[in-house]
Subunit: 589 residues, 2 copies
Amino acid sequence: MFRPSPFLDDKMIEHLSRYVPVLDWGRTYDRNALSNDMIAAVIVTIMLIPQSLAYALLAGLPPEAGIYASIAPIILYAIFGTSKALAVGPVAVVSLLTASAIGQVAEQGTAGYAVAALTLAFLSGGFLVLMGVFRLGFLANFLSHPVIAGFITASGILIATSQLKHILGVSASGHTLPEMLGSIFAHLSQINWITVVLGVTATGFLFWVRKNLKPTLKRLGASALLADILTKAGPVAAVVATTLAVWGFGLDTQGVKIVGAVPQSLPPLTLPGFSPDLLGALLVPAILISVIGFVESVSVAQTLAAKKRQRINPDQELIGLGAANLGAAFTGGYPVTGGFSRSVVNFDAGAETPAAGIFTAIGLAIAAMALTPLVYYLPNATLAATIIVAVLSLVDLSILKKTWAYSRGDFAAVAATIFLTLMLGVEIGVASGVAISVLLHLYKTSRPHVAEVGLVPGTQHFRNIHRHSVETDPALVSLRVDESLYFVNARFLEDLIQKRVTNGCAVRNVVLIFSAVNEVDYSALESLEAINHRLKDMGVGLHLSEVKGPVMDRLKRSHFLDDLNGRVFLSQYDAWEALAGDIVPKAAE
Amino acid sequence: MFRPSPFLDDKMIEHLSRYVPVLDWGRTYDRNALSNDMIAAVIVTIMLIPQSLAYALLAGLPPEAGIYASIAPIILYAIFGTSKALAVGPVAVVSLLTASAIGQVAEQGTAGYAVAALTLAFLSGGFLVLMGVFRLGFLANFLSHPVIAGFITASGILIATSQLKHILGVSASGHTLPEMLGSIFAHLSQINWITVVLGVTATGFLFWVRKNLKPTLKRLGASALLADILTKAGPVAAVVATTLAVWGFGLDTQGVKIVGAVPQSLPPLTLPGFSPDLLGALLVPAILISVIGFVESVSVAQTLAAKKRQRINPDQELIGLGAANLGAAFTGGYPVTGGFSRSVVNFDAGAETPAAGIFTAIGLAIAAMALTPLVYYLPNATLAATIIVAVLSLVDLSILKKTWAYSRGDFAAVAATIFLTLMLGVEIGVASGVAISVLLHLYKTSRPHVAEVGLVPGTQHFRNIHRHSVETDPALVSLRVDESLYFVNARFLEDLIQKRVTNGCAVRNVVLIFSAVNEVDYSALESLEAINHRLKDMGVGLHLSEVKGPVMDRLKRSHFLDDLNGRVFLSQYDAWEALAGDIVPKAAE
């Protein structure tokens, strides 16, 4: 009988595979999955070549950085990540955040700029791995959906605006909408009309492909599959056509800016910078990039996993994305995350396992070694056109309408995030959005619903005296508290009871019904003590009813129950029976 | 018949008196209230003279600033405030905050320092009035009780430490515990032994008075009233004795620092500084001082009001305290608030209306004009001794023990507030405390309790399947959500349902019981939509039951109910009857 060596012990592998998922799916990998993964990899590779160059341009980095950032990170995510379909690499929003962060510590085009990008990827990767090890994935939830939606929309507008300079052939700069537009206007005299023609044509063509090509082809009798593949090849067609135009007519000698020489090599080994000044300056942006990248990636991964009734593990995802970013830091890349469009293409093309990612990485490595001379004459305007068309699909101002209809608080959070991101930049925009969401939540819970209740005649049920015909006793006030009690609303309850009791001189007992109170924090405990003492000073008893088990356990650890000038009743009906005297029927108002 | 002129129209006065409470109590003021208020005023005035000088010393201001800050503010609060017993003026914690804030913009002893103090009072007063006009008093609730307790304790330690230099007769500076202690050690060679003898004797005497005088006097046969008055006169006795000692032995010529010449005048008319730089630098400290002062004042006022079954109006209190601070800004004072010790003395002495405050102000004005030469030889060491003895009663480290027993989260907030206030100063300490409280609250609500329930046989009640013997159907999962759904916990619910459904392959329907859900914000709505779509992709229905009215109204404003792959049931029993098929009795685990 074969006995596995201790190093291959099944249980051990099962344990390890929680942290290195490749050990799990790798053992059952078969020929069928292999062929599906290979097909998906070819499709994704073709799509990623122009996209990687374009996002590097957006980040202000040399074009090869975009390709390098797609090789090692993909492989590392395939080993450590839990999604079967997620494709990791440079994405638009993270590229914008990268440009904004490293633009503050180094000049674009210098060696320091590239080192800053590596350092940012290193910090971001380290932060993600730490979050994963300490299972802090839930922290990403502090970004509310309206804030994320507003931020993504505003980022799309900023990114599209940032590419206008490449379409116009002018040199401009800036990280906010007014800065960018101002800078473009200031440099408008540099405009290169040949670049404008190329850029506008490419943009128009790509929009047309995206909107109209598929229905047109279908009307002409093409099969759905062919129509789909031709539509996805649109950016490649634009790249080929404009590259040939520049090469054929020698447009690069007439002021059209081109990609130029890209080194033919595998990703180099690189080192991020470790100077304390640089690390300190990039720490906060790195945290921001990590959290935003993680939120984007996890929502894509969850959506795709659900389609096949699979699950992802958010804490392990942190480790997968962290490893990918550390990989980028040491192989000439910049911060990466799971991208929406490439992941969907990968999934639709039939990728079954993360091996598809590994094959994509091999395809890109071949491209990096063999195909880079082909993009020498590729105009930057074409890359800008592909970015503009891609990011404008991120811009969704309907979120303003939807949140307005649903809740004014959520609307305020979206509107503020969009406005502040456009006007003051990405960091301030997203930070303000988070602060506003939290403050609005605190405000909403600061005035909990408290209903004064009476007995429904002939039953043991208690209902709001303002909505139902119930029996009440003028000497007994029963208040049902519909929210957990904590520091933000503790004093509200003090005021409310003080007001109710000083209004009715006949009040002799107050019962607080705690059926909906899931927590009483120390501030609320002190407020309850204050209420108890004040009511005692007025000669009024304070009682509790229907207190949940965990809340009661907490209260028993304090002196509150010993000092309570009243009793704790299991049910409100018990309290009523013990305390009610002269009962008055009360009709609903 | 007498017809009141339109200017005295009763209704109009009633309306106005909401904003100017003096119009209310002033109309019914009688001889009895007058004599009670006068007696209280005499007692409070005697107590306030040394206290005002001492707190001015603590704030780094000339001694007369403390007296001026007690005159106009008291009168303005009497007109606009709603508490009958609150005494407004300089207090220890606000004096410390003032020293810390204006120490950053001006050198102590310069004219700029006094102007900065006026400006701080002006900003603080303006901010309080604005908060009151917009009814934003609830914002003060964002300071949790443990944070306030920790902050007050740490402030007490900082204040006592800051006075050590006066007891030792050395010049030292600093705003954190390490800075203060370091500075004292560095200047230890300057020590003046006569000052030390005076200061230590005064401190020891005052501690003895506070702890032992009253029982001793009673044992010796004194009446309770006499013992009480003699105990309260302790600081006055220390002032008189040490002043005579300095004058009699000429100790001021031997290095003992004295109060010196204090101008004999009514409060002067002064103007705060209006330069944008100064206003900008003091804005954040002014907000901090306003909020902390307001919290301290309101809790004192509420406690005293409750003893007489009276009420205060927190939003009107903001206006009262704001007016008091604006008064201080234009009459040579510095930021003020309602003080604990002086208010309690005022209340115990029988003050019936805010007129007691006005009489106190008159008493202090007489003192400012006539009595200031008497304190010429008063040593600073005595004032420091009165401060040390007063503030050490604020230091209450038992809050650490109490919160540790009650809740680790609250303990963490207290401990961090105390530690950071001592080590990094008052601003950072209190800001960190607030941030920690909010984060802890978000963390606690980020993982809401969700119970899977089954039917209690023979009833229409549903209970946790892990705690009770209930009937379940393997194809039907019923989950009771015990918390409002909002952005922080929205994704938690997504993960939880995904996990539950992918674990049980037979699941065909999921019911979410919303009986404890008081709110569904836009993030949670999107999470519910995502859950619905993912379950649909898996062929699983999603249903809701027991949705509250306001939540249902909101959901109807979105497309969620149209897209829902299931139904909304009025009660969970309706859902069970419609969806349950093969019922399996399930014993509690």
